[in-house]
Every structure is written in structure tokens, then in C-alpha cells.
């Protein structure tokens, strides 16, 4: 049963799906049907220490850096147009492999070149981000970007964080101005 998340809502991943080992973050959208520059959405994950910053630039997992040193997070490939059914981009997180000094993983979605292309999530049809159990594919949480983040171009979707020995997911749904570069910088990545 997927949990519909309001901003700031918490889901205990261990409670929602006990024995959860791997989660998938899915990002999906429809190919642009109208004329004009295509919609290129990007999923990324930041591995953050207690300080809320990355330990090193290698902790910024995105289309050009598909996995971290511990292989705990793996970006399964960039999709430039939204072509295809279901998730168009996926990031796999192996919870047991996440290094102990990583306190939380921040999950973000951005539109590539949103500013020059004058795009926002509302212009994209059926854009969503979701978290699911990689084993069995049960959906844990979902966010409708087209509908509920229509005027945003970048968003921190949520956080997967450690809490008393278990993993929890917190929906954030916080828009962010400026795109992937400034977002990465915000998390301490030198870009």
C-alpha cells in the first residue's frame, strides 16, 4: 500500500516494508508531445554525513557519476526524453551497503537546462518520483511532480535517513531554484 505523502511526512521504511534491503527510486515522465525542446529530467542522490554535506564529490550520484565508492547507490542510466513506459530513470539503493558515516541520502529531481528552455515540472506530462521496494516492486511513496510541483524546476524529493537503527523516508517536496549545479553546491559538492 503506497503511502501518500504530504510535505514533511515520514514513513519508516523498516516498518512499511520490514526486511527492506534494496530500494529503488523511480522517476518517470512522458515524452514531449508538442513541439519545442524536449524534457530531460534527471534523478540524483546525495550521500550526506551528519553535517548535511557530502563526504566527497564522489557522494554525488547522478548521470555522470553513476555509483559511489561503496557501490551502495547505483544510478541505472540517464534518459534524455522520457521515452518509454513506467520509470524512465531509476536509482538503486542497497541500504545494507550504505557506509556507516552516511547519515542520510537526499533524493532530488531536476530539469536539465530548465532555465534556457523555460521549462518547469508543470509543463511535463505525467512526471512523478517514487520510492519502491526493489524486491517485489511495491511502491512506498510517490510524488506527482506535474501536478504538485508545477512551477518548480528542481526539487528535493525526500530523504532516506537512519533513525535508531532503522531506515526512514521523509518526504520533503521542497522546490529549489537554479538547477542541479546550485543544488549540488548546496550539499557541499565542488562544482
Amino acid at each position: 500500500m503506497p503511502v501518500s505523502l504530504s510535505k514533511g511526512g515520514n514513513v519508516s521504511l523498516s516498518k512499511e516494508a520490514p526486511g527492506l534491503k534494496k530500494i529503488l527510486i523511480g522517476l518517470g515522465w512522458d515524452t514531449r508531445a508538442t513541439d519545442g525542446a524536449g524534457f530531460d529530467l534527471d534523478a540524483s542522490v546525495f550521500l550526506l554525513s551528519e553535517t548535511g554535506k557530502v563526504r566527497s564529490d564522489a557522494d554525488f550520484i547522478f548521470y555522470n557519476n553513476k555509483t559511489d565508492a561503496a557501490n551502495s547507490v547505483e544510478h541505472l542510466g540517464d534518459n534524455l526524453t522520457g521515452e518509454g513506459e513506467g520509470d524512465d530513470e531509476q536509482v538503486k539503493v542497497m541500504l545494507d551497503s550504505v557506509p556507516v558515516d552516511v547519515a542520510k541520502l537526499s533524493v532530488a529531481v531536476t530539469i536539465h537546462d530548465a532555465e534556457t528552455r523555460s521549462q518547469n515540472f508543470g509543463m511535463v506530462s505525467n512526471a512523478f518520483m517514487r520510492v519502491l521496494n526493489a524486491e517485489g516492486g511495491a511502491e512506498i511513496a510517490r510524488y506527482d511532480l506535474s501536478e504538485d510541483a508545477s512551477t518548480e524546476t528542481a526539487m528535493i524529493f525526500g530523504e532516506i535517513y537512519r533513525n535508531n537503527g532503522e531506515w526512514k523516508f521523509k518526504a520533503i517536496g521542497q522546490g529549489f531554484a537554479g538547477g542541479l549545479g546550485p543544488l549540488a553546491k548546496n550539499f557541499g559538492v565542488s562544482v
Binding site: D35, S118, V124, S146
Partner: protein, 425 residues
């Protein structure tokens, strides 16, 4: 009053509790004339009931829930709309020449009992070569919502109709004059390159292209054409034939049909696996060809293959468009499907059109570039699609190839080809 940015969505209930609302489309540009219309579409974004295309020739939906008055003003009564109508799409089209980039100002606004509750403003700088735009949408998603869209099509109203799949439109509904004018082709689109993972790409636009990389697998290229019974309760007119015309580097052409199946190991390196004579809705007709992936390497040059669907004269009148032919080209785990909606092509809907181009492949070494093609033969012509290399290394396709009959012998074939010096080798 709420001012919406492009892309912005808003629940209607946050703006007004009323279900009877006024919507207004405005567009201003010196020297340009605009038409304003509203499409009431179903849950699949299709105009499945053309009575819900409200425009200057059809000013009201059947129950009167959408009515068009003067100057792009619509009176809406959302409560009276049938559940089948999930979205109202408000559209601005240019009547005549020009593009929306010339727009000085324009807006979509909503109001109740005389006061404006929401407005979305757009201007020329929001657009490029678009000749038709979706300004805004009012749609059901849990509750009624409003979206400021501001996106469109350079193909104008034709492209818009194709987008909403208004199939009966061309025959049943008087359409605005702009439909009859040839629309400029939208710019070619290139789809993202294939990933290593299994990938199936569907091309739905005539000029879209996609590349298959032959180095990723060693097998043959399999081309499978498929079509359905058109539901006309006749079993004599679903017998389509898949054909391939192969252009070699030296400019000669070969043809492969079910009666001249070719060869995989020798020239023409394309082989037809056999004829299929009928199709039903549940069991589509399917014909398959195989292409030797070494065809380009062995011939030391580029190869072009035009895949077409042919319906013999003897099969009786049938618009092939109604059989929805598609072709899939498969190599290893890469699949490209060409799925053109021929119903949006007026020429393709004519009866006595015997040949439809459903796919065009250009093989250069290990790279196959695929596009749907979409050309159709002139009515009542047995001419086959003929390819010639152009100066830029591309191909020109014309319906000037010699007739190739399934049966009928040399006499009839010869008669049909009198005066045509082109021959298949």
C-alpha cells in the same frame, strides 16, 4: 485573481466554487487572424466524440455544456459534462500564415459572474514556429483543475487534430479552412541513443529517426510488419503483403516480396519468411523478413531498405490506414517500432491506395538509421516506392518504381510498366 505561470496547475475549487464559468481566449498580433476552439477529450486525451470539438463551425457541445460565443468567449457548465469528457483543451490557431512567435499578447482567463478569477498570459517570446497552441486545460483529477499550458505545434491545426486522434474528423465534421492547407512539416526529431539495456523505441512521427547499433549483437535484423482486421466484416480485404525495396551502393534496386522471397546469404541479403492472408482484431496479420546484418559491410557501402505494405487490386477497396499497419525492426535487444497514425494523413485514407511506406532503414556499416517514412502511392497506382541516393548521402523516395504484381503474369505486369525504364535487379 490568480495569475498563472506557464505550466502552473491549480484546483478550480481554490478559485471558485462555481461550475458555470466563463473562459476567454485572446490573441493579438498585427496582421494575423486567430481561431479559438475547445476540444473535449477522453481519459486518453483523445477526441473520441467529435461533437466535443467546439469551434466556429460547431459552436456548442451536444448538451450545451461548452458553447462558443463571440471573440473567443466560452460559456462552460462543468456539471453538465458527461463523465466521458475528462479534459477541456483550449486552443489558439492561426488562420493563415504566420507563427505564434509574432504574438504581441494573448491570454486565457476564467471568470464567474463577471469577475475574473484566474488569468494566464502568454506572448510571442514563449513560442517559436508554432501555428497552433494549447493555451490552457480544465481537467478532472479528483476534482476539476486548471492548467496553464502554453505549448503547441508548428504543424498547426492538422498536428493538433493528429495529437488528439480526431479520426472521424476529416470525414464527418466540417473542419476549419486551415485544415485543407498543407501544414509545414515539424522539425525532425532525434530520439535519445539506445542504452545497453533492452530498449524498445516507438516512432510515431514520419520524420522521427532512431539508430540501431549492429555491433551489440550478432543476429539478423528481423523486420515484422503487423496489421489488424479493419472490422468491416469482410475477410477478403485484410490480405496485405510486406515488401522491401533494397537500394545498393551502385544505385541498383532489388525487391523482396512473398512471391520473390530473396535470400539471406546471397544478394539481396533480405529474406521474406512467407505470406499471411488474413487478420482479425485478436489475431493480427503478421509478415516477417530477415536482413543480413553484414549487408552493408559486404557491399562496401550504404544500403537503404524501404519497407512497404501492399494490398492487391483484386483484394477489393480497402483503405490500408484502417488496418493500422506497423513495423518493428529488431536486432538483439534493440527494437524500433514504426507506428504511424495513417488516419491523420488524408492521402492514406483514400481507397484504392495500394502501397504504404511503413519503414525506411539506412544501413551504414554497423549503424542502422530507421524512420517510419509514411509516404503512400497515388490512388489507383501500382507504382512501387523507388529509392535513389541523393548528393548528401541520403535517399530520395518517389513512387516511380515498376509495378510488381503478386499474380497476373508478365503480360499484365508489362502493361502496367509501359514507359517506365526502371527495373528491379
Amino acid at each position: 485573481m490568480l495569475t498563472l505561470a506557464r505550466g502552473q496547475k491549480q484546483k478550480l475549487a481554490d478559485l471558485t466554487p462555481a461550475m458555470q464559468i466563463g473562459a476567454q481566449l485572446r490573441a493579438l498580433a498585427p496582421g494575423l487572424a486567430f481561431d479559438f476552439s475547445c476540444f473535449g477529450v477522453d481519459g486518453n486525451d483523445k477526441l473520441s466524440d467529435d461533437r466535443y470539438f467546439v469551434f466556429f463551425n460547431q459552436k456548442s457541445s451536444p448538451e450545451g455544456a461548452i458553447t462558443l460565443g463571440a471573440d473567443g468567449e466560452f460559456a462552460l457548465d462543468l456539471a453538465r459534462l458527461p463523465a466521458s469528457i475528462q479534459k477541456l483543451v483550449f486552443v489558439v490557431t492561426i488562420d493563415g500564415d504566420g507563427t505564434l512567435s509574432q504574438l504581441q499578447s494573448g491570454h486565457f482567463s476564467l471568470g464567474t459572474s463577471g469577475s475574473e478569477v484566474a488569468r494566464f498570459e502568454f506572448r510571442g517570446s514563449d513560442f517559436g514556429s508554432e501555428k497552433a497552441i494549447i493555451a490552457a486545460e480544465i481537467y478532472r483529477k479528483d476534482a476539476w483543475r486548471l492548467a496553464a499550458v502554453g505549448q503547441g505545434f508548428s504543424g498547426g491545426l492538422d498536428a493538433l487534430l493528429a495529437h488528439f486522434g480526431g479520426q472521424q474528423m476529416e470525414e464527418d465534421v466540417p473542419t476549419p479552412q486551415t485544415v485543407s492547407k498543407p501544414a509545414p512539416a515539424p522539425p525532425p526529431r532525434e530520439v535519445a541513443p539506445a542504452e545497453a539495456a533492452p530498449k524498445k523505441v516507438t516512432l510515431t512521427k514520419a520524420d522521427s529517426t532512431f539508430k540501431i547499433d549492429l555491433s551489440k549483437s550478432s543476429g539478423e535484423i528481423v523486420a515484422t510488419a503487423q496489421w489488424i482486421d479493419n472490422g468491416d466484416n469482410r475477410s477478403d480485404n485484410d490480405d496485405l503483403d510486406l515488401r522491401a525495396g533494397i537500394l545498393f551502393p551502385d544505385g541498383t534496386m532489388s525487391i523482396v516480396t512473398c512471391t520473390a522471397p530473396g535470400s539471406l546469404q546471397n544478394k539481396p541479403f533480405v529474406f521474406h519468411l512467407g505470406d499471411v492472408k488474413s487478420a482479425t482484431r485478436d489475431k493480427p496479420g503478421r509478415e516477417t523478413m530477415k536482413v543480413n546484418p553484414q549487408i552493408s559491410a559486404s557491399q562496401r557501402g550504404k544500403i537503404a531498405i524501404v519497407f512497404s505494405i501492399y494490398s492487391a487490386i483484386a483484394n477489393g477497396p480497402v483503405a490500408i490506414a484502417s488496418l493500422k499497419p506497423v513495423i518493428e525492426l529488431e536486432h538483439g535487444n534493440q527494437t524500433v517500432k514504426c507506428d504511424l497514425d495513417f488516419s491523420s494523413n488524408k492521402d492514406a485514407k483514400k481507397k484504392f491506395v495500394y502501397t504504404y511506406v511503413i519503414g525506411l532503414a539506412i544501413i551504414d556499416g554497423n549503424e542502422v538509421q530507421i524512420s517510419p517514412g509514411g509516404q503512400v502511392s497515388p490512388p489507383a497506382s501500382e507504382a512501387t516506392p523507388w529509392l535513389e541516393w541523393d548528393e548528401n548521402g541520403g535517399v530520395n523516395l518517389t513512387f516511380t518504381g515498376p509495378a510488381v504484381l503478386k499474380s497476373g503474369g508478365k503480360f499484365l505486369t508489362g502493361l502496367l510498366n509501359v514507359g517506365n525504364s526502371k527495373r528491379y535487379v
